[in-house]
């Protein structure tokens, strides 16, 4: 009988650049726990990201990684998964990366429904660039770039994911890496696009988020299976409910069967 690997085996050993106390450490812990739980061979796993404090995570995980450009982690992962469907492809990034500059890819990745697991480490701020408002920041939070706050309503990632057609929608909290690891395990297991929003405090620019530990609360119902029901829940949600909010019972449609051809046949078609 094989023994399960330890989470530690999925850490690369490289010291994160993160501030002490940053929530992203909890996400790192959860990802490595999830990989260990699933006992995935590290070389069969790829973790791709954009740019931001959160997006530094691939280098800290013992797997193939790609630290891409700001906002484009999902297309990078889409190409990889389409070309190498046998790999387990995880995507990670921040709220700025995923919902601001990367918002369009988020929409279309939800629709396209490839078997990816997308983990957004949401601290409702741009950590890396030193504290500007992100799409999920509340309207009255002042920053140097928006001294009176943005004045605009926060982006609702889960509702958007639902409207865009994602089949698996969950929320975790980096302060509870065990629950989060479980969500990631479920997300990887879901046969289609799995979106996991993670409340991951930025100690440095959003010290107020340390309060999250008193505020998050698990969802009591089972995951919704109908989009309409999930919509009802999400439009009433306080943004701090954790758990799997929605899971489409079927997941992803298999791609259509492919006809066989050859270069010679293609060249023959060119003949007059």
């Amino acid at each position: 009988m094989m023994t399960k690997p330890r989470a530690k085996a999925y850490k690369s050993g490289i010291k994160p650049v993160w501030c002490p106390g940053c929530g992203h450490y909890g996400v790192l812990a959860a990802i490595t726990k999830a990989l260990a739980w699933l006992a995935l061979p590290p070389q069969e796993v790829a973790l791709l990201s954009g740019i931001g404090c959160s997006s530094r995570i691939p280098a800290y995980v013992n797997a193939y990684g790609f630290h891409g450009i700001h906002g484009r982690a999902l297309p990078l992962a889409t190409g990889l998964k389409a070309a190498r469907p046998e790999l387990t492809v995880l995507v990670a990034g921040g709220d700025g990366d995923g919902y601001s500059i990367g918002g369009n890819h988020f929409l279309h990745a939800c629709r396209r429904n490839l078997d990816l697991t997308y983990i957004v480490m949401d601290n409702r701020v741009y950590g890396m660039t030193k504290g500007q408002a992100s799409p999920t920041t509340r309207p009255d939070w002042p920053s140097k770039l928006t001294p009176h706050g943005t004045g605009i309503n926060p982006f609702q990632p889960l509702a958007i994911a639902l409207a865009a057609g994602a089949g698996f929608i969950a929320r975790g909290y980096s302060g509870d890496p065990n629950q989060l690891a479980q969500l990631i395990v479920e997300g990887i297991g879901f046969p289609g696009f799995a979106f996991i929003e993670v409340l991951s405090p930025c100690r440095t620019f959003r010290p107020d988020q340390l309060q999250w530990k008193h505020q998050v609360h698990p969802q009591h119902e089972a995951p919704a299976e109908a989009a309409q029901e999930a919509a009802l829940r999400l439009f009433a949600d306080d943004g701090l409910t954790t758990g799997i909010i929605y899971r489409h019972p079927e997941g992803r449609h298999p791609p259509p069967a492919q006809a066989q051809s050859s270069l010679a046949r293609i060249e023959a078609e060119l003949q007059l």
Binding site: Y64, H67, P75, S262
Partner: protein, 582 residues
Amino acid sequence: MTAQRLSLAIAGSGGSGAITTGDVLLAAAGRQGFYGQLSRSVGPQIRGGESVAMLILSDYPSFYPTERFALLLALDWHGFERFLDELPLDAHSTVLSDPRTGSVPEAVLNTGATLIEAPLMDLAATITGGRSNMVGAGLIARQLGIDYDAVQQAVAQHLTAKGAKVVDAALQCLQTGWDALTPPKAPRLAHWQAERGIRWSITGNEACGLGALRAGVRFVAGYPITPASDLLEWLAAHLEGLGGTLIQAEDELAAINMTIGASFGGTPALTATSGPGLSLMVEGIGLAIASETPITLIDVTRGGPSTGIPTKSEQTDLNLALYGAHGDAPRLVLAPFDIQDAVFTTHWAVCLAEQLQSVAIVVSDQQLGQSKVVIDPVSAQTLPCTRRVAERCDPGAYQRYALTPDGVSPMSLPGTEGCMYTADGLEHDSSALPSSRAQDHAAQLKKRLLKLLRYDYGDAWSEIIGSGDLVLVTWGSCSAAVKEAAERLRQQGQATRYLGLRLLAPLRVEACRAAIGAAQRVLVIEQNAGAQAYHYLRGQGALPEFSESYARPGPSPIRAADLLAYLTQESSHDDQTQSKGV
């Protein structure tokens, strides 16, 4: 060479079927052993506006831009004035038109061309479902001396998808047109030397696609854009049979990043676009270069800047292909000379990208991409084309960006045990860890440049014909006209060398200078307003000080006669279209 060629045009308004007529005549001439090219020009209407089919038929495969159309068939004259610039006619031309469709435009009359009235509509009206364009096809086919069989087969094949009734009516029209001809004093193909053989009918976009497939491309992502969409569409039709995948992306930012992601996984990957999309891909180009993930990008150039002239040709994206990316981001830039060469050049580009783990940009253009030619089959070349991969690594010791003598480091592919690493667009050290130290930065910049510079590109970097005191330098789709001009100059006794650059970056500076040698006069020819190649070549030190530029924007093609006129008349140097030295 006793080569001969003939150019003709068929014009008509929306739904007149001018393009179909051109297509049928091209195929028929091809079946009979001729070579040919069909280009088209359309008005601004999205669909159903006026259009012209421009045909070159010849007994050797060279399709430099036509200087005089021998024959024009006007199915009608609607909106014809739009095409005047593109359809040079003169007193030796013959114009066939249907008196029913209105009077011949003043500008056409002024050319002095011989006018012949052809009652196409009246003849078509005698046949149920008859259309005048097919009457015209019959008339012209006979006039040119194309076998009736060949044109009949071409019509049947072209229209087969539309059903037997349509084919039937078309064939009757064809026959009617054929029979109606009272041979006027117009040009014919009849006396030419045509050798029947296997021929390909292929567009430039298809040629690029074929080259990519031959090189092993099995992943493509793209976003529709004129005039690159049909290249993507051709790949969509053919990739999956080879086990490949094509994704229609949400935008070009996604397309290039998908391409990078697929290549990171080990699959040779490509994207194709035109100017606006190229602009959007610029950040992705930098990522692929910095992370050393090979990709190929085909830019089918249209008129610029901005939305510009989407349906027409220009060689105006060279600067962006060369310099598009912030930071020092050396890459490969290649340009095919013509449709046939597009197969090889794209094949080679993909192979270079794979071998050098860099970005290869193929600069094609609308004229090259969307014209269709009948040519001899293009045989496949055997090119070194494998990516250097790491198959085994000492635990924890894999150096993705190792500094090797040739600058290329073995790349490990996901799935390979023990060789895990994180690819990065952040500057890194040789083990792929982020580093902001000056020495790591310098070493990696040097590696990424030198791997390109040290590679042995052999002779394929250029095409050289003839030698002499006068050197005509060019690239891309201007080549045909330049080759023709050089040939005419030689015939006039002026020793001339044609130097076409296939590999524009990294520029083979020494080889270029050697090819120019002790020339007395050097002219760089290109179809854009900014003399982009000229300034680039000068900046790299590839040209003598006294070199001149002949640069003119699109969409009118640069014709061999324009070059001869420029070269022979010393005086008139218009500062806009040409600049001598600087």
